[in-house]
Structure formats: C-alpha cells, structure tokens
Amino acid sequence: MVSQNIEPEHYPRLYLYRRIVQAKLFIDRHYAENIDLEQIADEAYFSRFHFCRLFKNAYGKTPHHYLTKVRLDNAQQLLAKGIPVAGVSFLIGFDSSTTFAALFKKHFGVSPSGYQARQLKKQTSFAANPLHAVPNCFAETCGWK
C-alpha cells in the first residue's frame, strides 16, 4: 500500500492542533502556578467543553488530569532530590500537602515519604556501588568489573 501524506486531507484543521499543543506546553511550563484551565481554554479560543474533548483526544487525558500528572511526575524528581514532602507540595503548585500526599499515593501506590525513602536508599546504594545500577553483562562487556 502506498503511504499517503495526511496533510491536509486528514487534518484539515491543523490550526486546532497547534492550539492544543500550545495549551499542553503551557501546562508543561506553568504547572507549578495556579493554572486556571478555563483561562487556557479561553486563550486557545475554545469553549471549555470543546477544549477538554480535543485535549483528551490528543493526549489521552483531560487537561486537569494531565496537569495533575505533570505535577506528580515533577514531585517524584523533587522527592528524589531529598526535598521535604511539604516543600515539594508547595513547589509543584498544591495548596495542601495532605491533598498532594493523597493524590500521590493514589497515583503511584506509595506515599511521598515512602517513595522518597526508597529513592534515597537506591541512590545511597548506587553511590556505594555504581555497578548495582548496571546489568552484569553490560558491566562485564564495558570492563567495569
């Protein structure tokens, strides 16, 4: 079968995609702020309903769920750096560390403090013996052991 270029016949409204991508990138950049999804929809020239539908089609999540995911993903990175849970909650844009902890546990199946303890333990282990991070066949081939 011959490949068919999908521009523009399959995506006649490419400009809509560009707005949705801009909204996603806005969330990526400003996740730690008090983001008003209604405002993003307005700026993208969409009704909130239309915006949410197109966003979910593109990313598999509603804008609200995507924002939560971005915040929690960043929380993981901050926790792994040893920042206290309350500080992480503030840094990723949550007003309440209790709400943050509950969402984190629901999302990842472990509390923020439990996740942090596990990550710090792993880092300590890797610092003491970096080869613990590497499958043995690679370590041997690379001459690291």
Partner: protein, 139 residues
Amino acid sequence: MITKVTHMCVYVLDQDSAYDFYVNKLGFKVHTDVPMGPGARWLTVTPPEQPELELTLFPVREGNVFDAETARTMTDLVKKGTFGAAVFTCHDLMATYEELKGKGVEFKKAPTKEFYGFEASFKDDSGNWFSLAQLNHEQ
C-alpha cells in the same frame, strides 16, 4: 520463555546532548544516571508511560567495547542515519509531530496514513532514526 524487554541500547555520540534530547525534547524520564569511572556513565531513560523499559543511551567511543577503528566506523554509521532504533507510539500523531517539530526535532518523514494507522519518523541528536506511530487500535 522470554517475557519482556527491560533494556534497549541506543548508541549515541554524546551522552550530555542525548540527555537533553531524550529528556527535554522527547519528554522521557531519567531512570538511572550513574558515573562509571573517568569519562564513563550509565545513563538510561524511560518513555513517559512505560517506566519498565529502559533505553540505555550508550556512548560510542573508543574503550573497552569499541576499539578505535570500530568507534570511528560506528560514529560514521550513526551520524549518517544507518540505525533505526525503535518504534514509539503516541495517542495523536499530529499533535506530537507539531510539538516535537516546535522543539526542533528533525523529521525524516512527515505524518502519513498507513494501513495500521499514521506514521512519521524522526532523528535523534546523534542520527539514529525512530518511527513515531499512532496505531489504529489507539484511536
């Protein structure tokens, strides 16, 4: 019986540059980044929604793995785009294409309609190319 893939190796020309490309452009997550002695580093990243699959960003350089001639040959081959490393999938190809293009990712092929969905292909910062697909069953 083999059950899963946990690690894949992508040969890169510069690990710092590859880190920036895979993390800041593609949105992958760093799984492991551990120094392995002078000039060596074990660096793996995972696709955003597949934390169990580590892509090892393995540097092409003269050393225990590559002798000088092999390192030169590999560098040339990677640079000229010989290696197709993997197929990545996304929920919506056009949105992902627009985003990555906006971040400066070089596409070899713009999105096209295929019998299995939609597909484009892009190159990483070293020259490895990847298919980027939106599969019919994900639509």
